[in-house]
């Protein structure tokens, strides 16, 4: 009885989480524009999707910003984590507090504070300002995923490498980096997904001329979302699902070989 109850409860929870997504995917195959009525199966929104310049452009902006911000945040964040880890206790504490500030700030405050910075310094809001904002909110996540790996590392292996004649650069590349790599990858993936899903910070740091998918959806929300957008998000959802399965498989393979 209790077993049935537990499974039933979890099934209900998942139903709650997935119903809107299923509705969205079903709508993307609906021939009509109406959200409620099924007017036959059609792929027309998928065809529309590839002909819609604004959506393709927004998709391009979202994807390149996610990739670039993940790349820069990973480089800066990994370097920072290695540096912070080597610090004395006090400066280390200060740096970690500073790292926690952006993570505890509500997105809307982060977005607004960056908007004020751009206005104050007369940096025009657009692609670059949005990229800088995304790098900013991604770095702390990279640091927090790399840091535990550094702490797990044997303290003396770096020094041993130096004693054995390795240059610091060589020791960094061949001793430190390989052992923190899992954390670096986690940080990069996390940054990528956070950037992909961000709306609030992008909204305040871009101009109406440079829109990513989120801000485009937002500006269309009042007029009514076209099913084309549903088609795109269904495609992205499936793509991310495949990515996750691939990563999961890789993780399992790594586990098995260990």
């Amino acid at each position: 009885m209790s077993r049935m109850f537990k499974r039933g409860y979890l099934a209900l929870m998942l139903l709650f989480l997935y119903v809107p997504i299923l509705v969205l995917i079903v709508q993307s195959f609906n021939a009509g524009v109406s959200r409620a009525k099924w007017q036959g199966f059609s792929l027309k929104w998928y065809i529309d999707l590839f002909n819609s310049a604004s959506i393709i452009n927004a998709f391009y902006i979202t994807l390149t910003i996610a990739l670039l911000s993940a790349l820069f945040a990973t480089i800066l964040g990994t370097l920072a984590a290695i540096g912070i880890h080597a610090m004395q206790k006090r400066p280390q504490g200060i740096m970690m507090t500073l790292t926690n500030i952006p993570m505890t700030m509500p997105d809307i405050v982060t977005g607004i504070s960056l908007m004020l910075l751009y206005i104050f310094t007369r940096i025009p809001r657009g692609y670059f300002s949005m990229l800088l904002a995304h790098i900013t909110f991604n770095i702390p996540y990279v640091i927090l995923s790399v840091m535990p790996k550094l702490k797990q590392m044997n303290k003396f292996s770096y020094e041993a490498a130096l004693d054995l004649g390795a240059t610091p650069g060589y020791a960094l590349r061949h001793v430190i980096l390989p052992s923190v790599m899992p954390g670096v990858i986690t940080g990069a993936l996390l940054s990528f997904t956070l950037s992909l899903d961000d709306f609030t910070i992008s909204y305040f740091t871009t101009s109406p001329l440079v829109q990513n998918l989120s801000t485009l959806i937002y500006s269309e929300a009042r007029k009514g979302i076209k099913p084309t957008m549903n088609a795109l998000s269904a495609l992205m959802f499936v793509a991310l699902l495949v990515l996750l399965l691939a990563v999961n498989r890789r993780a399992n393979l790594v586990k098995e070989t260990k």
Partner: protein
């Protein structure tokens, strides 16, 4: 693209930062015949100053100044009394606002209280729904547990605006739920444009943030502890309340933090699912900045928001001093 151009002095500043970094590395290589590792944190330190600390200082600057840039506390007075500006002008012109029936305006305060109340309800519902889910998934006899956790993450990959909009098609007057009700011969219901719909949207979006940390805390627990309690004669309920629950509290605390903080500043959801009187503090801040174009008041509101969040964080930290609950990572 003109939008891509930086003002020249910003480019110079960036080059200067890079040059300083390169110079420091060169210097340290000459001195120690090696790179000092702490220097690797330098670019990040610079980044934090430019993109986190200075923007925060700007918010502080705007919050305590008026449009002309002079120091003032009027923005905070306007937070307390949204008619403050109007009443001040009347007094300046020699009228008594009370005679004209202009009383204290409580729009801003009411919005804040409403947001805190909604965030509180959302956190409570997420806890009530999420704790059992985490508990069942962390059960060692339940093989599917770790797979199900992933299923809780996946919905968050769908753009959150679209997921919220998808609820519209379920809740609308002639949406799916009402169509189903109609087909069953039941009366249709007004589901949208009220606080309940907003709350539903919030719970839907933030539930996973409650489930993960609790699941993490529960699955890290040593099963021997509850077995020992059982062996010593405690029944299932007593074991849960005396062993499992107290040990999972760090997870609960970080779940509460991760749900409460974004819920207070919820933005967009009230606008889509709510009606005219469901504006929340996040929307108020956005409207003050972008529609009313009042950066000074908007900054003051943001500052108040941040202070409230810091206060609640420090209060919550007291229950979990070591931060064991961890976050999603």
């Amino acid at each position: 693209m003109s939008a891509m151009a930086f003002p020249p002095w910003a480019v110079w500043l960036m080059l200067l930062g890079l040059a300083a970094f390169a110079g420091m590395i060169a210097l340290s290589i000459r001195r120690n015949r090696g790179i000092r590792r702490t220097l690797f944190a330098f670019p990040y330190g610079l980044w934090i100053v430019v993109f986190t600390l200075i923007p925060l200082l700007l918010i502080g600057y705007y919050a305590f100044t008026d449009r002309s840039g002079a120091f003032t506390l009027d923005n905070f007075r306007t937070f307390w009394d949204s008619n403050f500006e109007m009443r001040k002008q009347m007094l300046d012109m020699g009228f008594d606002p009370a005679d004209l029936g202009i009383a204290r305006g409580n729009v801003n305060m009411d919005t804040l209280i409403y947001s805190l109340w909604m965030a509180f309800l959302c956190t409570l519902i997420c806890l009530a729904m999420g704790y059992p889910a985490a508990l069942f998934m962390a059960d060692r006899n339940f093989k599917l547990g770790s797979t199900l956790v992933v299923l809780f993450i996946i919905p968050m990959w769908m753009n959150f605006l679209l997921r919220t909009i998808a609820w519209m098609s379920l809740l609308e007057d002639n949406g799916l739920i009402n169509t189903l009700l109609g087909a069953l011969g039941l009366p249709r219901m007004q589901l949208m444009y009220n606080s309940r719909a907003v709350l539903l949207g919030m719970v839907y979006n933030y539930l996973p943030f409650m489930v993960f940390p609790i699941y993490n805390a529960l699955s890290k627990q040593d099963p021997k502890l509850s077995e020992a309690a059982m062996d010593l004669g405690a029944n299932a309920a007593l074991t849960f309340f005396k062993v499992t629950l107290p040990l999972s509290l760090p997870g609960v605390i970080s779940g509460i933090t991760m749900v409460f903080m974004p819920s207070v500043t919820t933005f967009f959801i009230p606008r889509v699912l709510g009606g005219g009187n469901t504006e929340m503090f996040g929307d108020l801040i956005e409207r003050t900045f972008l529609s009313a174009d009042n950066w000074n008041l908007g900054s003051a509101l943001s500052l108040i928001m941040m202070v409230l969040i810091l206060l609640s964080l420090t209060t919550l930290r007291k229950f979990d001093p070591e931060g064991e609950g961890g976050t999603m990572i």
